[in-house]
Symmetry: C2
Subunit: 400 residues, 2 copies
């Protein structure tokens, strides 16, 4: 069913579920585990595609929700699809639009959760029916209906290599009855997505199914069985991953043990350094998160724990806050072991100045550094998996 | 006096004052006429030095006023000086700080002019004495005193190749008595600047004198004689250039006829396409202006008049306003005759989307295009001067 796509597992760690692989797409190969950077509105904020490539990026994603509202998927199609429009010729992923409808739709995740628990979700903002999800545009307030079929059609217009079924994204502590009901509707939506996908298939895209079930093991099992038994190219772990990091690990571990081993698995929205080591150990193949690029725009430069150890920096975060006054006169690069074009050319003091002076170049430089950092990190993860040293490697990168 | 600097005139147009030349600096050669881009706070907003180079940029400038306040010239010095700090290894220029004190110091040029005419310039904002100019920091409200000696010392810390004497920048319609008085003080400041320059000279920098005199021919003559007779490497035309474009041409023409022909001449703050053709015809060697880069950040893409003619665009501006709805579906590049990396890779529709979606990449892309455009324009100007076709060439570039 997916003649132009292939997932090869190249190594399985005998002592854990960690693995390395190659994800083949019509726009190139992604070495896994890997990290997918967010070009939400068809742009990595502040970075040109050429610079993403030079920073060793293999794959990026865009968000269906944002693009269907602005400029509209028909405009993206007219401009040649995402790859051509953005000038990015590598592999691309789009999500279904569901996540943003269920989170941004309410202004914040917090209010979403509250709304859900109280059962008084404002009807002007969102209505979920068997047909699909009705929501209001964050751009102009217009009303829209996103159905499983519509999501696939939009993702066809956008033209990413890897696309995703529409699901309802449940908040983290809805009760089991709601979770089960929602999961089963998401399964029905997944079947409709798959049907629409098959109806319009031209072998240029591959479809991800999503495993739901929240924090409930039996529901996760039901959902894993569901996706395993249908013609998805790959799987994504969605739905609530619990209220704590520990619970997240448990849920991801449980889900991974049940999912078919011959399909790649994407973990949605996770991007801390420690989270990536945990995920890799469970066998996650791809991650995505706005964290590295958003952190950069707020002055955070990702650095390995080793660097902090060596420079006597006792902070527990996984980054330097370059806005800190202590960097004002610092003529060292962010990371003297990093070979990104930022670390090779600019000092902490200069980047500190750019942030203080509100020069956009500061955000650009830290974004390029963080992108390079993530790609370097994932390369180290892949290497460590193959040499059975993932837990040793982890200590070099994070104190968390 | 300037062993590491040289200005060679390579061609004089027999029919006008236009000329081409080579301005040699310790960081490389500038072909003249040329355009100097503004990296006000030690950053071309949104563009990395490497991309400036790839867009054929030969020279950039930074502003002493901004940098003395933030991060402070001692910080720039500690970080290796402007070239090293910014990662720009080509020729650089800094101004004296005077212009911004006398314009920004009052919030706007309009209020400055008003204040001057009424003689009630708010004393908390600025006091000009024989010693220098006292002003308040726009960053933190602290008080500062800029003297001719201080301006040179700061420019030494910053380390640009080409530096400028401090002058009082008079608004465009102060009376002749004030203009004469101010000009003579500026001359005394210039002598103090020159003395401080000589005291601290290590042959790494060259000093520009400024010709003042406002709109008054006899004062311009007095000022031209002054700068011609002192050891400046080059000259800059400062002070009021009048209230209209016609008056500006007259003043620039008059000044140029009086200035020594063996020194390069910089025209401060001028950057429209038609202005550059006019200036080149009078023999101006370098221009600077925030216009091309600021215009880009507001969605303006510089294009040749020829392109507008060919595409039936009847607007009289020298640019396209890419935010205009008509570009939403336009899959053409900004300018199909332009070989910048933006025109080779991105469509008007995509850049339109980036501006509408408030993606900073839009500003970055248009800035790179406009920089490339200006460098292409100045190259065409140099070529046209050498072939005696400047007026024909002009019609290809501007309708103004």
């Amino acid at each position: 069913m997916y003649p132009n796509f292939k997932f090869e597992v190249t190594y399985n760690d005998p002592d854990s579920s960690a693995r390395t692989g190659l994800l083949h797409t019509p726009h190139g190969v992604v070495e896994t585990p890997n990290f997918i950077f967010c070009a939400t509105k068809a742009s990595i904020k502040g970075v040109m595609p050429q610079d993403m490539l030079e920073a060793n990026t293999q794959i990026i994603l865009s968000n269906t929700y944002h693009l269907m509202l602005q400029p509209g998927s028909e405009v993206v199609k007219k401009l040649g699809g995402l790859h051509k429009m953005m000038g990015w010729n590598g592999p691309m992923f789009t999500d279904s639009g569901g996540y943003q409808i269920f989170s941004l739709g309410h202004g914040s995740v917090a209010s979403e959760i509250k709304g859900k628990r109280n059962g008084n979700r404002p009807k002007t903002l969102l209505k979920i029916t068997e047909e699909g999800a009705r929501f209001k545009s964050y751009v102009d307030g217009s009303y829209h209906m996103l159905t499983p079929e519509k999501s696939i059609q939009i993702q066809r217009d956008l033209g990413a290599d890897l696309i995703v079924v529409l699901d309802e994204c449940t908040p983290f502590h809805v009760d089991k009855a709601y979770t089960a009901k929602s999961m089963r509707m998401s399964h029905r939506w997944a079947l409709r997505s798959l049907e629409e996908f098959k109806r319009t298939d031209d072998h240029s895209q591959a479809l991800y199914g999503i495993i739901q079930g929240g924090v409930y093991t039996d529901l996760r099992k039901e959902s894993s069985d569901f996706v395993n038994n249908h013609d998805f190219f790959a799987h994504a772990i969605g739905g609530s991953l619990g209220a704590s990091k520990d619970q997240m690990h448990e849920i991801v571990g449980t889900a991974m043990s049940m999912l078919s081993k011959d399909r790649p698995v994407h973990l949605l929205g996770i991007g801390g350094i420690s989270d990536i080591f945990n995920g890799a150990e469970y066998g996650i193949d791809t991650f995505d998160c706005v964290h590295p690029t958003r952190l950069a725009r707020h002055g955070g430069a990702l650095v390995p724990a080793e660097l902090k150890d060596r420079q006597g920096d006792e902070s527990t975060t996984e980054h330097l806050n370059i806005r800190n006054q202590k960097y004002k006169m610092d003529d060292r690069p962010i990371d003297d072991t990093c070979e990104c074009k930022v670390c090779l050319n600019f000092s902490r003091g200069y980047i500190h100045h750019l942030f203080r002076a509100q020069e956009m170049l500061g955000m650009q430089l830290l974004t390029i550094h963080n992108v390079f950092f993530m790609n370097r990190l994932l390369k180290a993860v892949r290497k460590a998996i193959k040499s059975g040293t993932l837990r040793v490697e982890r200590k070099k990168w994070t104190r968390l």
